[in-house]
Each structure stands twice: as C-alpha cells, then as structure tokens.
C-alpha cells in the first residue's frame, strides 16, 4: 500500500469516518422512527394488535413464515395474509377464515408441509387477526409485488 498513507493516518480516518457515518445513520433512523410514530397516530397499535404480536411471538411463527419478507422461508408470507383472505372487501369473512385456518391445523395431508396445532384462545385469535390486519395496512412501498406474497 502507498507510502503516503501512514498507519496513524489510516487509524484516524477510520475513527473519524466511522463516527461521521454513525451520526448520519442515527439521525436518519431517528427521522424514520418519527415518521413511524406519526403514522401510528392514524394507524395505532391498539392493545389488541400488541397482544396479537405477543401471540405471534409466543409460538415462533416467524421460524416458518416470513412477515414483510423477514423470517423463515418454509411457509407463506403473512404480512399481507389479511389482503389475501379478502379482508379489504369482507373483513368479517376474512377474520373467520383466518381463525378457522389456524384452528384446523395440521392438515395432515401426506407429502404437504405441515403447520402444527396451536392452542390459542378465542380472544387471542382475534388479537392475532388484528395484528395481521394492522401489518397489512403498513405502507411497505407496495411490497409484496403480488398478493401471493
């Protein structure tokens, strides 16, 4: 490497540059967080949505499914499952179908991936569906491209 760059210069550039980029990053994240909080005014995380997220985490659904594209790739994307189940046109119908789906697992179909049975109470199932509905309403810059997820 060139003789003009000394080790201490390289070190100082590293520290200075890292601090510089980290400050910018923190600033941008702070701005992003403020936009998220603003969105939450009209699109609040209700106690039921929060409970739904807890149910989601209790059973580690994330280690089979993706949500907004993150998680495991074993089972369908659920960030927009509310939309896929027609929740935008028929909220009551979508709610029933989603709850029924979870209750009816596993399918037991030979040669098809299985979702386990989870004992989830009726109010918790409703909370879970509220969580899916809330998630489907986040402005994801139009992701996923198709309703198939």
């Amino acid at each position: 490497m060139s003789e003009t760059l000394t080790k201490s210069a390289a070190r100082n550039i590293f520290y200075g540059g890292t601090a510089f980029f980290f400050v910018i990053f923190v600033g941008l994240v702070a701005h992003s967080v403020s936009t998220v909080n603003e969105m939450a005014i009209n699109h609040p995380v209700t106690p039921s949505v929060a409970r739904g997220k807890e149910v989601w985490e209790k059973h580690a659904c994330i280690d089979c499914h993706t949500i907004m594209g993150e998680g495991a790739y074993f089972a369908p994307e659920l960030g927009n499952v509310w939309v896929r189940y027609g929740g935008r046109d028929d909220a009551a119908g979508a709610r029933e179908s989603l709850k029924l789906w979870v209750k009816n697992q596993p399918s037991g179909i030979e040669g098809r991936r299985q979702m386990p049975h989870f004992d989830i109470s009726e109010p918790d199932l409703d909370a879970l569906v509220d969580f899916f509905k809330w998630t489907s309403e986040v402005n994801t810059q139009n992701w996923p491209p198709k309703v198939s997820g």
């Binding site: 490497m1 000394t6 080790k7 390289a10 070190r11 590293f14 540059g17 890292t18 980029f21 980290f22 910018i24 990053f25 941008l28 994240v29 701005h31 992003s32 967080v33 936009t35 998220v36 939450a40 995380v45 949505v49 997220k53 807890e54 989601w56 985490e57 209790k58 059973h59 580690a60 659904c61 994330i62 280690d63 089979c64 949500i67 907004m68 594209g69 993150e70 998680g71 495991a72 790739y73 089972a75 369908p76 994307e77 030979e110 040669g111 098809r112 991936r113 299985q114 386990p116 969580f131 986040v138 402005n139 994801t140 810059q141 992701w143 996923p144 491209p145 198709k146 198939s148 997820g149």
Partner: protein
C-alpha cells in the same frame, strides 16, 4: 504459543466444534423436513429445529471468537491473561446458557423473534458472559502491549456486546421492532463482526507469512474503515419494505453496494501478504483456511450480497430462497472459515503437536466448501425460479414450492456432503495425527 494462559482457548474451541456439529445435524433435519414434509412434523416442528440450527451457529461462532481472542490477545499483548479462571467460569456459564436454551426450545420455551428466540433470562446470561469476557480481555490489553490488532479486535468485541443490547428492546410496533432488530443482526455481521474477522486475519497473516507488522496494521485500518463506512448506512438495505420512508432505497442500495469493497480488500490483502511475505510456514492448512476465508467471504457476502441488494432487485427477491443462498455462503465464508482458520492455526500450538493432520484438515476444507458452494447454487436457482413464479407471475407460495423439489433435494445432498466435511475438520483438529502417535511411541522409552 508463548503464554500458559492461552490454553483457556481450548475450552472454547472444543465447545465451538461440538456446537458446529450440532448446527449441521439440525440443518440436516430441517433440510429433510423440506423434502419429506411429514418427517418429525409432530415431534420436532420445523420452527423449533430451525431455531436450534441458527442459534447453534451464532453461539458457536461467538464461542470461537472468544476462544480466538483468548489465544490471540496474550500473544499480542505479550502478557498472561488477566484471569484464566474467570475465562473458564465464563465458558461454562456460556455453555450452560446455550444448553438451557436448546433444551428449552425442545419444550417450546422460547421467545419469538428470528435468531433472538432465547428467553429473557438467557439473554441476560449472555450479557453477563460478555461482560466477564470483555473485562478479562480488556484488563489483559491494558497491562500489556497495545497493537492495532488487539485494538481492532477489542473494538469489534465491545461492539458485539453493545449492539446485542438491542435484543432486549422489543416494541409492540412491528416496524420499530424490525428497525432495531437489524441493529443486532446487520450491524453485527456487516459491522462489528467484520472487525473481528479482519483482526484475526491480520494476526494470521503476520504469523503465517512473516510479513511486517506495520504493513499489516495499515491494511487493517483501511479494511475496517471500508467496512464501517459502507456497512453502517448499508443497514438501509433492510429498510426498504418494512414501513419506513422511501429514501432508504437510495441509501441502502448505494452504501450496501460499497460493502463489497472491504471484502474485496480482504482478498487482495491476504494474497498480497502471502505473495510478499515469503515465509513458508509449516501449517499449510491454516494458510489454506485463511485464504479460503477471504475468497469465500468475498463471494458469499460480496457477490451474493450484491446480487439482491439493489432495491429494484430486492423488491422481487426479498425473503425468498435467494436470501437463504446468500445467508449460507456469507456465514460460511466469513465467519465459519475465520474461526476454523484460527482453530487450525492454534490447535497444534496449544496441544504442542506438529500440525500433522493437515492433509485430512485440507480434505475437510475442500469437501465442506464444495458442499456449501453446491448448496448455495441449488438455493440460488430455487430462489430465482421462486421469485419469478411468485413475485412476477403471482403464483401462490405453496404451489411454487412444489416446483422446487429438485433443488431442495440437491440442497439436502449438499448438506450431507457438508456434514462429512465438518466431521473431517473436527476429527483433524481433535485427534492427534497418526505420524505423531507413531513418532511419540518410537521416541518414548518403554516404561
């Protein structure tokens, strides 16, 4: 090995290798569930086996980093470790935490965020383990010689601990949860872990090639500068579609593209040092792993990362098997290989053996690397087909998966090959070479 206290590294290397085998075994289990879906579906559901697979990986890599640091730091600082006893207690506590997590998972006791499934109390144990470790190595460096290598290594290790604290924060707003989840995941592997990787690589270069320290250390600062200048804002490549403003598409695309630079620099660095160094060290296997590490990290993180990092591409491939392909090659190339490079270098010194099982170790290198490479290709093809069918044509997820069976079988085959390679690696590191055993028998007088 110059300092008695470096020996504590043996605990960590042994623990890491054990968990490495467990990681691959659970990988085989989930690889099998994918192609034979009714396999174990009641007893050990996919999600449980997967969290064991991923957690075992992360824990053994961290354990390897700890062990590497305990080997490297006394030698660099030219002083005994501050407290070998504390290091041993730390090891058992960490192993206990890891074992408790796994047993808990098997009984469905876990939290529910990807990679951070450990129950709160285990996360706190990990924090305590990290503090014990940081105290120990920091005190060692403070009383000894301070080099750029220990400096960067400590910075990386402190960073690991600091960013891990974000795992304790779980807001009920899913968007904010994701924003800070990436502060652990991305700022680890594309931030502070790179500091650890680069500093270990620099240490190995000095030892294996005999190159001048001044040159290596200047490179080291340049490499980690490239890593953090790009990697910090590169976090933006995870902020495209999770409910954040659209500006991240520009920031993430530009800066994460630049993340290729440090990985490329590491390839140039390692090959230049070997070229210029001119020393022919007896431990050829350690050199092979070191060079392999920079090359595979460049392909896994750099090339496969770039493949899907631009926002318009990521829009289509996000959360498909393309991501899985990249995740495997990147973790293998960068962090599995840096650990095995260090173990391969350190083990003969720690055990006062000649590096005898080198040939077997190098077979392990080629077989494991072939396995992971083939797996990466299988998953990449699967991912491209999946992206097209599901994201362009709009076919349903399960329908698409049925089209991918062949790729998943190839992935499982590649996994079996990987497992064979891993067994060879572990064997070559743990079991004394036959030549050595024979030599010892010949030298030692009958008693």
């Amino acid at each position: 090995m110059k300092y008695e206290s470096q020996k504590v590294a043996l605990y960590y290397i042994a623990g890491a290798l054990g968990l490495f085998v467990a990681q691959i075994l659970f990988g085989l289990v989930i690889g099998t569930i994918v192609v034979v879906p009714n396999f174990l579906s009641e007893l050990l559901p996919f999600n449980i086996a997967r969290m064991i697979h991923t957690n075992a990986l992360i824990v053994w890599l961290l354990m390897g980093f700890f062990g590497s640091a305990y080997y490297l730091i006394p030698e660099e600082a030219e002083t005994e470790l501050y407290s070998p006893k504390l290091a041993i207690i730390q090891f058992w506590l960490f192993l206990f935490g890891a074992a408790a997590a796994v047993v808990g998972y098997l009984f469905h006791i876990h939290e529910g965020r990807e990679f951070l499934e450990q129950p709160l109390w285990i996360k706190l144990v990990i924090v305590v383990v990290a503090l014990m470790f940081l105290f120990n190595v920091s005190m060692t460096v403070l009383k000894g010689r301070k080099t750029a290598i220990t400096n960067v290594l400590l910075l990386g290790l402190w960073g690991i601990a600091v960013f891990f604290l974000f795992s304790l924060y779980n807001p009920s707003n899913l968007i904010l949860d994701k924003v800070f989840w990436w502060w652990v995941v991305h700022l680890w592997v594309e931030g502070v872990w790179e500091l650890v990787m680069a500093s270990i690589l620099a240490f190995l270069m000095i030892k294996l090639t005999g190159i001048d320290r001044e040159v290596v250390e200047k490179w080291l600062y340049v490499i980690i500068g490239l890593a953090l200048f790009s990697g910090i804002l590169g976090t933006g490549h995870h902020y495209y579609w999770i409910g954040l403003p659209a500006y991240w598409q520009w920031i993430g695309s530009v800066f994460s593209t630049l993340e290729v630079a440090p990985f490329f620099a590491m390839v140039v660095f390692t090959f230049m040092m070997v070229w210029k160094g001119g020393r022919s060290h007896a431990n050829k296997a350690a050199l092979l792993w070191s060079l392999g590490c920079s090359v595979f990290a460049f392909f896994g993180a750099g090339v496969w990362g770039f493949l899907h990092t631009l926002a318009p591409v990521n829009y289509i491939t996000h959360g498909t098997q393309v991501t899985a392909a990249h995740g495997h090659l990147a973790f293998y190339g960068a962090y599995v290989m840096i650990n095995i490079a260090m173990f391969t270098y350190a083990m003969p010194n720690l055990l006062k053996r000649e590096p005898y099982n080198q040939i077997l170790n190098m077979w392990g290198f080629w077989i494991t690397s072939s396995g992971v490479t083939f797996m990466t290709f299988a998953l990449t093809f699967a991912g491209v087909v999946q992206s097209h069918l599901q994201r362009v044509l709009g076919m349903g997820f399960m329908e698409v998966q049925e089209q991918l069976g062949l790729f998943y079988w190839m992935r499982l085959g590649a996994g079996v090959v990987t497992f064979v390679g891993v067994v060879l690696i572990v064997w070559s590191l743990v079991v004394p070479g036959r030549a050595k055993a024979a030599a010892r028998a010949a030298i030692q007088p009958a008693e």
